[in-house]
Amino acid sequence: EDLQLFREVMGVMQHHDAVTGTEKQHVADDYAKLLYEVMVKGEKITSSAMSELLKSPGERKEPTEPFREFRSCLLLNISSCEPTENSKSFGVTLYNARSHRVSTYVRIPVKGKAYIVKDQLGNELSTQLLPIPLPVRHIAGRHSNATRELVFHAVDIPPLGHQSYYIDEKGANSTDELTKAD
């Protein structure tokens, strides 16, 4: 039923106004609302699909409860991601929708001052923390505590496949003013 809703909304989005942006403002706002609602509903589908994909071959049981939740970050375009800002430790799974192997730099909005990133084999990755540019932090409507972006390099994500990383905040009692050293 969630997927059907998604199909219906994407059907509406084929309208030439939705594609080109020549609709009235309140129609554009409604399109955005429709898309947002079905993306949130779609999260249930992606969560159960990722649970299936993450089951190691031969393993029959699903990942145990806390690890079965896969949440999207729909506000990365304003450097905001509630789950990564408000968790001291979290897993990040990257799903590569392309039919080619992909390496990419990942940017995650965070609040802390130092993080450890491990790949699924436990190797610690080189990371870098950068301040989120001021004009982005002050965008009207951006309700985010994130002041920095955590950057690391995801190498060789398989085609139509995924890769997971474990991220843990170091020195959890970090203060929050942005120092030059950052």
Binding site: S72, S89, V92, L134, A140
Partner: protein, 280 residues
């Protein structure tokens, strides 16, 4: 503290006092300067609007630079954070080991207190001789040759040189210097409009805020508002150089970059409170 430029071992990227970015390649004779400008939108007859791009006059205006910039360098990425003024800023990035320069631009809210409609563009001006020819991929696949002030099927006399030379871009606009055998391309993360009004220069429109309906159907001006103020647009351009001697690899590299810009991996987060790596 003392760094004034970024670029790793491929580029030397710095900012001048007017907020313009200058890029020099360390490995080839190529130089590009990037800056923002705007057109005033036509308001009287046949105004600029959702269906039409018609600047008030065929000149572009400079944006006053009242901002600042900061340099951040580290093991994975080097960044230039540049604030041009109250409604235009950008971050210029170079990632380690990647042959591209990323422009993360933020435009808006575009001011209209002076009742002037504005259409903000970014320009990449290089030292390449492109002889009035440039290419756009208006369908996301093939590159279509465009020649300034020219139409392939009739002798055109452009009464509006700016609007008449603007073309749709889906993922890429480029120009090339056949003597130097170099190509400059700008990859976009969404469909935009663009042109090359001067040799060696690529121009892409980023954001518009107009004040009069263009009477072509929508019945209201293209004046998007969010949270009570003008909409803020944020996007990414990749600036890449390509060697025309090695066309095979050039095409593959550009195609892969265009796809990676349009189809980034999907990021899914699993909060794992109080769980160790082993448990996870």
């Amino acid at each position: 503290e003392t760094a004034t430029s970024i670029g790793g071992d491929l580029y030397d990227i710095s900012v001048d006092d007017s907020g313009k970015v200058t890029i020099e390649w360390k490995t080839k004779n190529m130089k590009v300067s990037q800056g923002f400008n705007y057109y005033k939108g036509e308001k009287r007859f046949r105004p600029s609007g959702a269906y039409v791009f018609r600047p008030l006059e065929s000149v572009m205006h400079n944006l006053e630079f009242t901002g600042s910039h900061e340099v951040y360098r580290g093991p994975l990425v080097e960044e230039l954070h540049i604030i041009i003024n109250k409604f235009v800023s950008q971050t210029v990035r170079v990632y380690k080991g990647e042959k591209r320069i990323e422009f993360d631009w933020v435009v808006g809210p575009i001011p209209i207190e002076d009742h002037i409609a504005r259409e903000v563009v970014t320009r990449y001006s290089s030292n390449l001789a492109s002889d009035g020819v440039f290419y756009t991929d208006s369908n996301g696949r093939e590159m279509i040759k465009r020649v300034r002030y020219f139409r392939p099927t009739w002798n055109v006399d452009l009464a509006e040189p700016i609007a008449g030379n603007y073309y749709p871009i889906t993922t890429k606009i480029s120009l090339q210097d056949t003597k130097k055998k170099l190509r400059m391309s700008v990859l976009t993360d969404r469909a935009q409009g663009g042109t090359s009004m001067r040799d060696g220069e690529l121009e892409v429109m980023l954001h518009r805020r107009l004040l009069v309906d263009d009477s072509l159907g929508v019945g209201e001006p293209l004046n998007e508002v969010a949270f009570g103020q003008g909409l803020i647009a944020r996007g990414v351009h990749y600036l890449i150089d390509s060697d025309l001697q090695d066309l095979e690899n050039t095409v593959l590299h550009e195609k892969s970059l265009a796809q990676s810009l349009a189809l980034k991996p999907w990021l899914l987060v699993t909060p794992v409170h109080h769980s160790t790596f082993e448990q996870w």
